[in-house]
């Protein structure tokens, strides 16, 4: 069950040893309930506060209280969209894009079914948005709630969130951005960006799966998604997941310390990987190339071959990668992101996402560059369309 080369870090990352170590005492000794009136439980609250400050620091939030801990990126997205719409009242106009994660599209489509107007922005073949369209919708007269991601999980393409936020705020709307893939990888500062709500997920930055956070700018009205107890200042009920909150704090602290170094390291490896694949694999092309992208992500289409077949052959030799998003891997649909980018049909089914982390090495890249080309060659030989 041990992988040798893990290049699927946009699906999930290894829990950093520092994070596991920081969490452990909260399982074995300090397992109290932070809401308790006794020192044993109540004392744990300090750990929550410390973690909240670290998350706030990574995101550049003005006040730690703008951070609400949730159980995952998906909960943050659902809470932001449904919570903002509910608190706004009436029937706000929803704006999103075709390339969002399912956790944004899910609640958007749900609300559309309930009668809300939903506008879904297209992207061009490089994955770029048309800012004029954002403008057009934002001043449509109705109040808007816009949810537009910062970095795409499949291609790594980065949207110009500061510009988008300005446009949405000019129109008087509420702006949410899914920052699950950018947080910890590139510097962001919500304080200096016109963002009302922002989602992150722990397991994309070396904290465990099952913890997330929502940044909610002071004064942003949002109906709780999980109602009940007074935890998180009444904004998210449920006894706090103390160990994971501590873990997320540590992960954010680590990410902040190492960000520049990690990003440079990943970009260097990624660029070498891309160049190597393009040079050795016939019919390969990089989706989103020429656009601003995350330093760790490379989405490559291989003409006339099928992604699953590539993946399974890679898996066989210990290389872990993915096609599109992991949570959609139960589905038979080709990636909705690549379809939105109008990737030609011959390329649509053969896309592989390589996504790196601080733990990848030069040897990992060497190994992929050695093993991948013969696999592509073999699969192309099987194909009725490919010619040599």
């Amino acid at each position: 069950m041990k992988s040798s080369v893990y290049v699927d870090n946009n699906a999930t990352t290894a829990v950093a040893p520092e994070v596991t170590e920081a969490m452990l005492p909260y399982f074995t000794e300090q397992w109290g309930n932070p809401s308790s009136m006794h020192t044993f439980g109540g004392g744990v609250k300090k750990a929550l506060d410390a973690a909240r400050e670290k998350v706030a620091a990574l995101l550049g939030a003005e006040h730690p209280n703008e951070i609400i801990f949730t159980s995952c990126g998906s909960e943050s997205d659902n809470m932001a969209i449904r919570g903002a719409v509910d608190a706004m009242g009436g029937h706000p106009h929803l704006i999103t894009t075709r390339v969002e994660h399912a956790a944004v599209l899910g609640p958007c489509h749900y609300l559309e079914d309930k009668g809300f107007r939903l506008s879904t922005l297209e992207v061009d073949e490089k994955g770029n948005l048309d800012l004029n369209k954002v403008h057009e919708f934002s001043i449509s007269g109705k109040k808007t709630v816009a949810s537009i991601m910062w970095a795409n999980n499949e291609t790594g393409v980065i949207f110009p969130v500061p510009a988008i936020g300005s446009i949405v705020k000019q129109g008087g709307g509420i702006f949410h951005t899914d920052a699950v893939q950018i947080a910890g990888k590139l510097p962001i500062s919500v304080k200096d960006t016109p963002i009302d709500l922002l989602s992150i997920s722990g397991h994309k930055l070396h904290a465990p799966k099952g913890i997330g956070a929502l940044y909610a700018r002071r004064g942003t009205k949002i109906t709780p998604h999980i109602m009940g107890g007074h935890q998180e200042r009444g904004r998210r009920a449920g006894t706090e997941n103390v160990p994971y909150i501590v873990g997320l704090g540590t992960a954010c602290e680590l990410a902040m310390e190492r960000m520049q170094k990690d990003a440079m390291h990943e970009r260097k490896l990624r660029d070498r990987l891309e160049a190597g694949i393009l040079a050795t694999c016939k019919g390969a092309s990089v989706n989103g190339a020429g656009t601003e992208r995350l330093p760790n992500t490379s989405n490559i289409s291989f003409e006339y071959v099928e992604g699953e077949a590539i993946l399974l052959m890679l898996d066989d030799i210990g290389i872990c990668a993915s096609t599109g998003s992991a949570c959609a891997s139960g589905s038979l649909e080709p990636s909705h992101v690549l379809r939105a980018m109008d990737v030609p049909r011959s390329m649509l089914h053969g896309s592989i996402r390589f996504s790196l982390s601080r733990y990848n090495t030069d040897e990992d890249i060497d190994y992929v560059l050695e093993k991948l080309p013969p696999i592509i060659r073999r699969l192309r030989e099987l194909s009725p369309f490919a010619e040599d």
């Binding site: 006339y304 099928e306 399974l312 891997s329 139960g330 011959s346 030989e381 099987l382 194909s383 009725p384």
Partner: protein
Amino acid sequence: MWEYTDKVNDHFKNPRNVGAVENPDGDGLAGSLACGDALRLTFKLDGEKKICEAKFQTFGCASAIASSSALTVMLIGKTIEEAEQITNKEIIEYLGDLPKQKVHCSVMGREALEAAIYNYRTGKTLDRKIDGEVVCHCFGATDKEIEKVARE
């Protein structure tokens, strides 16, 4: 992650009879690039009118590759009349099993076989009109086809 049987894995990783038979007696194509998936099946008959050579080319997932490979193995040694009787279910049985969502990947095998036999008998290319709602967008399988397979 799909649960594949050893046999599926074997036929995917070591596909038998890859390529195109030279001067085939039957040549059939199923699926299309537009649907994102295709299978070409070619065969040749010996003096006793039995299939002595069958080859495939597939643009598809692991299940599609394994199903195609299995089909060619099943075809060799059979008469056209016997070959015609091969059902999807038999391809799946031959492979041990396929995940339910992947059953349709073997549909293409049967279709390519039908097309190749039609080509053998008429010399013409079978122009399959896809009817029914396209439910598997990646491979253009229709609900009717999937239903048909499910019933078999």
